[in-house]
Symmetry: C2
Subunit: 449 residues, 2 copies
């Protein structure tokens, strides 16, 4: 019944019935997404994909974010390219219970279709976004953690269903059509963790967006799949469960009771979330070193005690470029210590290969401790003279306990969008993005971004 | 090393080094594919997809087979739509060792790209097709049977890699680029068996074709993935192995030594291959009944002893339409007995619901016997007067032991294409398709199909 239950819930969700906190979470998710998609829009990964695919563009109805409204594509390609851009800096949002980055696949499909079709209000968009994000996260929870452990990139492997639900909602699909759309999306399982560190990682959410959009388009024409697509013996959950026992009924049964979008966090640093506590701690230590007038050159070594996933996912000792730097807690810690900042600029290729950064990086050691929570860390700096500084992070900035404030989200948006648009246009874009919820026609807003 | 080995082998494969038997198998595979794609082109499943997607078509460079050259799409959509058409009657080819229908995903991508780019000879196309089919089947063998057992539609879950290899070969990708293309294809895992019996089943090879084409296009622009995409701990094979132990090295190591395309069989009947022995037997019994002047009305019951997969996959007792009829060994047996034929016309909706067909269908019983081979069956007809007829099928027509002859393939092509194009044009198309191998520019041939 999970497929039909999800379809029924999504079709019947009304903007007016969303709790204020959910609407707020949806707006923050969309806002953060837009900043990330603009910030990533001129990344070489996106450029390569654009060059490969622009010869195939259909009628150019949908904006590619970040090009001051000057670049468009057909809705399917816009979904793909904006999806890639939104994830390429590893700077997007995170549903912490599953490590899903939910907005990329869902919003990329939604905004591309919404602009193509036109006439949707900000309320429509935020409601559809919420439906899609709840869909992705609930089915993700149902197969977590074995699904991720075996090697699926859970953002995209759940994202096509989320995108289909969101677009299907904008289309006003019937419950039956929505179930068929979920089915067509469920057969397009995208994303392997083996690709982390390559261009293909950010292809994942883009392709999931495109797959979900395609599924909704087909279902709208009466294309059939299965009304048990998620729960059947040889349906999505059992096939991708990685040996675990899917808990679809449990989590789908919580739709509308427990809102996953409220548990969506925003990254303060453009890299894998697992190393955020260490970076946060290093930034705080940077401030302490400056306050106390200590010298970075006098650092003998830095000892970090971290959650084992930090080692598993981000232990590149000698990253060669910005992309590899994202998978190095050592680089993240080094720029945090040296610059007190770890934004997109600090993950530039030239920073990763800078000798002063490398000098600090090589002094950092990290040891796993399975008793730590994922957002917890202990740092010790030993100085040459035998003195030390210690820092304990119970919850990293950007966690649910220490969420990014709207002001911090704005600073993040303007910082990254400014690198692409210039600061003045980035600020205008930020203002427009905060006001999306009030818009009568989001297509018009999209054209200004 | 499997990914790099496959890439290297494919890049270095030369038309001149293909054994004659391989070239012949490639031509027969392509010929059969073209007939199936034409035959399926006006199916409602294809029409729904066309209607959903034509608003997004880019520059219309690539023919949609079966419309007398009058309908085109951009290469990506042509790959998708021709792929759907080629599989929609369940009438395509089968690599019997894996039940992969290999040509659909590979040829759909290849021909769409080939026509878009232009200038490729028949030899180029057949060589690239061979590379793609070998790729799909070898990686399929590596994860067979657990991959299929758990619920993946192995045709499409391996097909995106096959399609990427084939298109990549036409593009003259370097070995490194080919490995990257394989990686981008490998993250797009399409197709669940739960969809059998719905429109989405034939979406699978279409989407695999499109995914493989997309992967090659990205790799051509330098898009990176992983050179261990297939064999890494969290790469394709381990993630989709369904609990089995992948044997990539073994099967990839046999590339060019054992040719899977030579083990590609062609379906004499447009339905799941597992029920072909029973249909073959029923057709032979039809001829015997006619020869002996017996009456169909006098049949009391028909007992079939079949391989267990026949029961698992094709035991719909009361199919409601042509599509469900394909999953009913009882319907297939009934039309075989009554008409001595089981072509696309015998799987029309009106035939499946015809009362005289239903009367025979309801007399047929099938019992599994796990000691039978997959293409073996024993049939007994009991007549009202106590007499009986028996038929033992050791190998069904269309098996490797009793392959379809070129004449039978031609009859199949003209029969199904004739329903779409009319008989005269179907014969012209058949002639053109048999000559594809000699063509200097396949794009010109495509425009005539």
């Amino acid at each position: 019944m999970a497929t039909k239950s999800l379809a029924s819930w999504a079709v019947n969700l009304q903007p007016s019935s969303l709790p204020t906190s959910v609407k707020q979470a949806a707006l923050r998710s969309l806002y953060n997404y837009i900043g990330c998609a603009i910030g990533g829009s001129d990344h070489p990964t996106v450029t390569k994909a654009y060059n490969a695919l622009s010869p195939f563009f259909g009628k150019e109805t949908s904006s590619l974010l970040g090009h001051k409204g000057s670049k468009k594509a057909d809705a399917q390609h816009a979904a793909l390219l904006n999806g890639i851009a939104s994830h390429v800096h590893d700077y997007d949002d995170t549903h912490l219970a599953t490590i899903i980055h939910p907005t990329g696949p869902v919003a990329s499909a939604l905004l591309a279709y919404g602009e193509y079709k036109g006439g949707f209000s900000g309320e429509d968009i935020l409601c559809a976004l919420t439906a899609g994000i709840e869909a992705s996260c609930k089915i993700g929870l149902a197969v977590w953690p074995e699904h991720y452990d075996i090697g699926w990139h859970i953002t995209s492997s759940t994202g096509s269903v989320g995108a289909a639900v969101a677009v299907g909602k904008l289309m006003h699909l019937s419950e039956e059509q929505m179930a068929q759309a979920i089915g067509v999306a469920a057969v397009q399982v995208v994303g392997l963790r083996e690709m982390f560190g390559s261009d293909t990682k950010s292809f994942h959410p883009g392709r999931a967006a495109q797959s979900g959009l395609l599924a909704a388009l087909l279902a709208e024409q009466g294309y059939t799949s299965s009304e048990k697509a998620l729960e059947a013996k040889r349906g999505w959950a059992n096939v991708v469960a990685g040996g675990g026992t899917p808990k679809l009924d449990q989590f789908v049964g919580e739709l509308g009771k427990k809102w996953e979008i409220e548990a969506n966090a925003f990254k303060p640093f453009p890299c894998g979330i697992v190393c955020h506590p260490a970076i946060d701690g290093c930034i705080q230590l940077h401030q302490e070193i400056q306050r106390k007038g200590l010298k970075f050159d006098d650092i003998k070594d830095v000892q970090a005690v971290v959650h084992p996933l930090v080692i598993e996912l981000t232990s590149k000792r000698t990253p060669k470029d910005g992309l590899e730097g994202k998978f190095s807690v050592f680089h993240g810690g080094a720029v945090g210590l040296l610059y007190g900042k770890a934004g997109p600029a600090q993950y530039g290729d030239t920073v990763v290969t800078d000798s002063s950064v490398i000098a600090v990086r090589d002094k950092i050691d990290a040891q796993p401790d399975k008793n730590l929570k994922a957002d917890e860390t202990y740092l010790t700096i030993n100085f040459e003279d035998g003195s030390k500084l210690e820092k304990r992070i119970d919850h990293a900035v950007g966690s649910l306990e220490v969420p990014m404030t709207d002001e911090q989200l704005t600073a993040k948006f303007v910082d990254q969008a400014g690198l692409v648009l210039g600061e003045a246009d980035a600020k205008s874009a930020s203002d427009a993005a905060w006001r999306v919820g009030e818009s009568k026609n989001v297509a018009e807003v999209m054209r200004t971004l």
